[in-house]
Structure formats: structure tokens, C-alpha cells
Amino acid sequence: MKLSNALSNTKNDILLNPNAGTFSYVLHRLTGLALAGYIFAHIIVLSAVLSGPESFTQRLALVQTGIFHYLEIGLIAVIFIHMLNGLRITVADFANLTRLHKTLLWLSILIFCAIMAVTFYVFLF
């Protein structure tokens, strides 16, 4: 199958199957790719330590102020979306709880909301 066809199929599949499984699948993919990219960014940021503690502290100060401070909330959201969904499908596969996948999804959403509440509290107040 040509890549363009495959990509357009993916797009159509998302549009034609508007259900919980599709949304969590798409989110899982997107957050996964974002996090894979973030690992590299993170290592590059931290690599400032190689030029000494001062430059490390400076670099970290830079990425913790202004817009970056708020982006970090987003980062935590992305991490937990990927993590909770990953745990959910692992549990479904390993324990054969496929019939409960929606219940598990609601459970994940609940945990996610709790974590985000804490995050907002910590970051904004």
C-alpha cells in the first residue's frame, strides 16, 4: 500500500470510527511520538551540565520561566495520558479484560483528572 493511501486511510479511520477506542489510540500515538521527541530534547537541555553546574542551573532557569512554566503543565498532561492509556491497554491484554475497556478508560480519565488537579495546584498556586 502506498504511504499516501495508508495515511489517508488512517485519517478516514479516525473520522469514521468516532468512539472511545479511536480517540485513545490517536492520543496514545500522538503523545507517544511527542514524548519520544521530548526525551531527546530533555537530554540536550540537561547536557548543559557538561559545561559545569552554573550553566546547568542557568539553562534550567531558562526552561522554567515564562511560557515554559506553563508548557510544563502540558508536558505532565501528555506524560500521564500516555502512561495511563498504556497501563490500560496492558491490563486489558494481560488480564483479558477487553470487555471492560470502557470502564478502564473511565478509570484512567478519573485518575488523570486527579493528577491534573494536583498539577494545576502545584504549578499555578
Binding site: M1, Y25, D93, T98
Partner: protein, 237 residues
């Protein structure tokens, strides 16, 4: 009156598909399939769709109806709770005409898993004796009518036509679970390959759309675990 938005495409004439609108006189209890026949018989005899048993057992009339893959014969218009019925063909297969798609690949994938009992005998003089427990292991796995809803809804099937698909994987478990079948190892190896169970990303769309309310997701999950233990065992020994 119900408005039908029907996907129309004749590859020989049309450059690209279009949606065509028909007004269908809706009687109580009318199904989407009957609606399509109403169009064929009264409004446009060139409309194409497959149908046979009209009792949700042959699997001919699977299509995408109002946001989900369903069997047209089993879907009553009033249950859709909408003034419009939008009908599209099953995805991931080449469109032959209108709602009729080429299911060659769907069946080719099924044939790849050797969908028959692998057992060259000797056979007992009468039937095989099978305990109730052994027979229970086949429950639901054998009920698949091969309509193609799950295949159309599966995003993995959309990106790679070599992915076996939920239908073929569920059939595999049916044979692995059958004590009459002697091909268990071979089957497990086959579904552990790149195009097999591990291409499944646990999206649950197959379970969501199955018109017979089967659970291919569960079959795939069970196959995954079997495949993992089998591989680990082979690596250790």
C-alpha cells in the same frame, strides 16, 4: 420521510466519489437495507450494494451507517434516531461500485492462516469425543459471519493490507482452541510474525462494531499472551 445520503462511485466513470441524496418513505420497522432496496426499486436502479439473507447471518450487507460499521439488514432506521441515514462502503478495500467493495484481500488474509482443521487422521470411527469444556473453548469464536465490519474499523488494517485482521486472528484462536486441530504450534508461529497479533494496537474498534457482539479484541489478547509465553519458552529451552 428519511433522507438517505448514499456513497456513489463508479470507478469507470466518476473521477471521485460523491454522496447522493434520496428521500425514502419510511415505514415502521424499516431497516436500512430495505431503505436501499426502496431506492433501487423506485428511485435509482443503478445503485449497487450486496445483500442476501436479510437476517444478520450471511454478512453480505456490512457497511458504514451513521458513524459506525453495521449490517444494513439488522439496523432499523428508527433506532438510528436521526432524520438522515448516511451510508458508506466498508473501508480498507477497493471500491468496485457504490457500496460494493472488493473483499479479496479480506478473504486472502483469512486463507493465510489455514482456516481448516489440520489433522490428517487417523480419525475415530465415529465422532471425536469432546468434553463440554473443550467445546466451550470454541464458543463465540465460531460465531463470526465474516462480514468485514471489524476489518473496516481496524486502523491497523488501514495502513497495511498484509495485517491479518481481527477476523483471521479470531479464527486462528478458534483452531488453536480446538482439540481436534494439530496445527497449534504452526498457527502460533504464524500469528506471532510481523503481520500477526502484534500489529494490533488494542483499539477495540473490532469489538465495538461487531454486529454479532463477538470480541475479537479478547481473542487477539489471548493469542498475544500465548505467543509471548511460547516464544519465551522457546528462548529459554
Amino acid at each position: 420521510m428519511t433522507t438517505f445520503n448514499v456513497f456513489r462511485y463508479d470507478p469507470a466513470i466518476d473521477k471521485c466519489p460523491k454522496m447522493e441524496t434520496f428521500d425514502v418513505k419510511n415505514e415502521r420497522g424499516m431497516t436500512v437495507l430495505e431503505g436501499l432496496f426502496y431506492i433501487l426499486e423506485n428511485l435509482d436502479p443503478t445503485l449497487c450494494f450486496r445483500s442476501s439473507c436479510r437476517a444478520a447471518i450471511c454478512g453480505s450487507c456490512a457497511m458504514h451507517i451513521n458513524g459506525q460499521y453495521r449490517l444494513a439488514c439488522r439496523t432499523q432506521i428508527e433506532h438510528l434516531k436521526s432524520d438522515t441515514v448516511t451510508v458508506r462502503p466498508i473501508a480498507h478495500s477497493e471500491i468496485i461500485k457504490d457500496l460494493v467493495v472488493d473483499m479479496t484481500n479480506f478473504f486472502a488474509n483469512l486463507e493465510k492462516i489455514k482456516p481448516y482443521i489440520i489433522n490428517e487422521g487417523p480419525f475415530p470411527e465415529r465422532e471425536f469425543l469432546q468434553s463440554e469444556g473443550e467445546r466451550k473453548g470454541l464458543d463465540h469464536l465460531i460465531d463470526c459471519i465474516l462480514c468485514g465490519c471489524c476489518y473496516g474499523a481496524c486502523p491497523s488494517a488501514g495502513t497495511d493490507e498484509d495485517y491479518l485482521g481481527p477476523h483471521a486472528l479470531m479464527k486462528t484462536l478458534r483452531f488453536i482452541n480446538d482439540p481436534r486441530d494439530k496445527g497449534g504450534k504452526e498457527r502460533l508461529a504464524f500469528v506471532s510474525s510481523e503481520n500477526g497479533v502484534f500489529r494490533c494496537h488494542t483499539v477495540f474498534n473490532c469489538q465495538e462494531v461487531c454486529p454479532k457482539d463477538l470480541d475479537p479484541s479478547s481473542a487477539i489478547a489471548r493469542l498475544k499472551m500465548k505467543a509471548v509465553w511460547n516464544t519465551l519458552k522457546n528462548l529459554v529451552s
